[in-house]
């Protein structure tokens, strides 16, 4: 911890906007939260495209959305809508995780 102490001691005025260190354990916890969020979202990514649109489409086609068979609709429409949502959810959740561990890239 010597370098960390030295660092914060040398720059007391730097405050929130200055350079700062995070501990290795905090870094690992941050990365783990990122990976599990990613895992969940990629699971949904797989489920709506490869799952609903290809592997289970015959099963889903017994249901319909409007007049379109559901599996077919997922392959040509639904998967795309979910993809858009996934990216914005990731962006929002990731920002929260980054702030929690003080590694975000917000100005000031």
């Amino acid at each position: 911890m010597a370098t960390s102490d030295l660092h914060s001691g040398a720059e007391p005025a730097a405050g929130a906007s200055g350079d700062h260190n995070i501990t290795e354990s905090a870094f690992k916890a941050y990365w783990k939260e990122n990976l599990s969020l990613m895992g969940i979202l990629l699971g949904i990514w797989f489920a709506v495209s490869f799952g609903a649109g290809i592997l289970f489409r015959d099963f889903l086609d017994q249901f319909s959305i409007g007049t379109a068979p559901l599996g077919f609709w997922f392959a040509q429409q639904g998967a795309i809508y979910v993809f858009v949502i996934l990216i914005f959810v990731y962006s929002f959740m990731m920002h929260r995780i980054e702030r929690k561990y003080d590694v975000d890239d917000d100005e000031g």
């Binding site: 370098t3 649109g53 379109a68």
Partner: protein
């Protein structure tokens, strides 16, 4: 028949009007956004707002093929066409979650920059440069060809002339403005192309389903209250066509193609570099989201247009009465009574995109699956987008807008590719490998000359398209999936990945995928074998000069000379001709388009096995990986007193 404006038919006049005015707009933007520094030239000064970058990415991404051909392709393929819809959008999720923010935090100019630094190896950098150049050249030749065809179909300009005009426009704003000019032009091009695509789609949807929103019309009923999709499916099967709702491809092949297109999208260098232009890592994520929204507007409209257009084609053209008088321009289709062939059919027949042969001599058009009885002898898939304004009874200027939209799509993609080629040559090859003491000014000059050189090659390839242009989808996406994606992904998420793993992964992934595609799409003829030898010879020669002084490169030098000999043998036809593979020989029934997914898995496995068998990467590289995992530039990981 129609009044003329300035001696031209209204369609030609409005096409010329929109093409010339949008080109003027692009040039104006380029003059305004001139690039002065290498930062401006390569990454637009890292200063593009995420929403604008999203728009630019969408234009960069959507090529002439997405704009003009995709709806038609889906109209013919039905469910099988879903691979393009999911594949070309799902890649953005991978990009946003796995690659873009980390590459932005890394903060350099190009993809080979990342590969070279992360794998502390000039050889890895050189292999990456070659991959980037090969992928981008394949792709740009197709765009140039598309530009030429659009010009020749609508303005009566020869294809060669069209290719040259398009190339000069792109060259102008790419050389002058660099990435900054390209970005703002792409924003304008996105607006042109999305407007040109959605307006006719809305009118078509109104006419066929009674709702202005194509995405709702897609799941709705026709104006007569019949379910749209089920009705089309039944009509098609009655005429002997394959079912619209049931695919022909196997489940495994569908999965492989979709995966290859997704991973390939995330690994395409011209898409990745767009995310270097935003200010911060978190902006890269947001920007990928915006890009996908802008892309999704077109990609969710296209399958609806596909259904509307094919249903309408059968409804109005099949069994309609064809009039020779209208074909000669001596009468109007509207005066021919009920059941007459619509006017737009005659208009497009003149361009050669549609053709009718009255095989049974009954004066009516029979549209059938069976080639013996089918009388629609030419049916270009682009017709399903191009004819929409007329089918929807829109004024003549809308067609002009659609052509301008198609050109915007082709030019914006060509410009993005040009930036990759230019930076790969000037920055990665010249500055980082061959002439390490170049100044910024010299590098900028080389970048501009490289862009000019690349355009000349693209013009040549657009006029004399080499065989592989037809297989552009398989090549560009398959190779990106099997070469770039594994090394970038593992480089970020696995600290233990080392340079031996990276080089082996790229070489193995690229060669296996390329070999499979060439074998099934082109065939290893003597000339093709010679061309392959020439490419490898060039790579070895660059490695020899680039690695001089680092290690003993004489084997590379002599290997290169030997391969050059093989090239000469191939060029003179001395090597054996191996016949192209047939579809029943596909491994596990996986098509060349889907093989990129297999190549990627093999590349990943190679990377992991090779890395574990060789020494771990040095400490500073592992620290670099930690750095790029943290978005903040000011937070650092402390490793305790041991350091």
């Amino acid at each position: 028949m129609e009044s003329t404006i300035l001696g031209m038919t209204p369609t030609v006049f409005w096409t010329a009007f929109f093409v010339i005015s949008t080109f003027g707009l692009y040039i104006g933007i380029a003059v305004w956004a001139r690039a002065a520094t290498t930062d401006d030239f390569y990454v637009a000064g890292h200063d593009i707002h995420p929403v604008f970058n999203g728009m630019a990415t969408a234009a960069d991404w959507m090529s002439a093929a997405s704009f003009l051909s995709m709806a038609g392709l889906i109209a013919f393929m039905g469910y099988d066409g879903s691979v393009f819809l999911m594949g070309w959008t799902g890649g953005y999720v991978l990009l946003a979650l796995l690659l873009a923010p980390y590459l932005r935090k890394f903060g350099k100019f190009t993809v080979p920059d990342f590969v070279g630094d992360r794998y502390y190896s000039q050889a890895a950098r050189i292999v990456a440069v070659i991959c980037a150049l090969f992928i981008s050249f394949t792709y740009i030749a197709g765009q140039m060809r598309g530009t030429g065809i659009a010009f020749s179909n609508f303005l009566g300009v020869p294809i060669e002339m069209g290719v040259i005009i398009g190339a000069i426009i792109v060259l102008f704003y790419a050389v002058l403005g660099g990435m900054k000019g390209v970005t703002y032009t792409q924003v304008a091009q996105y607006c042109v192309l999305i407007f040109a695509f959605t307006v006719p789609a809305i009118f078509l949807s109104m006419q066929i389903t009674g709702t202005p929103i194509p995405q709702l019309g897609f799941i709705g009923t026709t104006t007569e209250g019949v379910p749209l999709l089920a009705n089309l499916d039944r009509t098609l099967t009655d005429l002997g066509f394959t079912s619209y709702l049931q695919g022909q491809k196997s489940m495994l092949d569908m999965t492989a193609i979709t995966l290859a297109l997704m991973v390939g999208t995330a690994g395409l260098p011209h898409v990745i570099i767009r995310f270097f232009t935003v200010p911060k890592a978190s902006d890269a994520r947001k920007s990928a989201g915006w890009a996908l929204i802008f892309i999704a507007i077109l990609y969710t409209t296209a399958p609806a247009v596909a259904v509307f257009a094919r249903a309408n084609f059968i409804e109005t053209v099949n069994e309609s009465t064809y009039s020779i008088d209208v074909a000669r321009g001596e009468a109007e289709a509207a005066d021919q009574g009920d059941g007459a062939t619509p006017q737009w059919f005659y208009n497009w027949e003149r361009t050669g995109l549609l053709g009718f042969t009255d095989k049974n001599g009954d004066g009516q058009i029979q549209y059938r699956a069976d080639a013996e009885t089918n009388e629609v002898t030419t049916l270009d898939r682009d017709i399903f987008v191009l004819a929409n304004p007329e089918i929807g009874n829109l004024p003549g200027w809308v067609i002009g807008l659609v052509v301008a939209g198609g050109l915007a799509a082709a030019l914006s993609t060509a410009a993005g590719l040009l930036m990759v080629i230019s930076s790969a040559v000037s920055h990665d090859l010249c500055r980082k490998v061959l002439f390490k003491n170049m100044t910024d000014t010299q590098e900028l000059l080389v970048a501009r000359f490289a862009a000019v050189g690349a355009v000349l090659v693209a013009i040549y390839a657009g006029i004399n398209p080499p065989g592989f242009v037809a297989a552009v989808v398989a090549f560009a996406f398959g190779l990106a999936a099997a070469s770039f994606f594994p090394v970038i992904f593992l480089g970020i998420f696995w600290k233990r990945m080392n340079k031996e793993g990276a080089i082996a992964s790229m070489v193995v992934g690229l060669s296996i995928t390329a070999a499979y595609i060439v074998h099934f799409k082109i065939g290893f003829s003597s000339a093709v074998l010679g061309a392959c030898a020439l490419i490898v010879a060039a790579v070895l020669m660059i490695l020899h000069f680039g690695l001089k002084g680092e290690s003993d490169t004489r084997p590379m030098f002599f290997g290169s000379l030997a391969l050059f000999g093989v090239f000469l043998l191939g060029a003179f036809g001395v090597l054996p001709d191996i016949a192209p593979g047939t579809t029943d020989q596909w491994i596990l029934g996986i098509s060349p388009e889907g093989f990129g997914a297999v190549g990627m898995v093999i590349a990943m496995a190679t990377a992991i096995v090779t890395s574990l068998a060789t020494a771990a990467p040095p400490r500073e590289v592992q620290d670099l990986v930690e750095e790029i995992r943290i978005p903040s530039a000011k937070a650092h990981v402390s490793h305790g007193p041991a350091e």
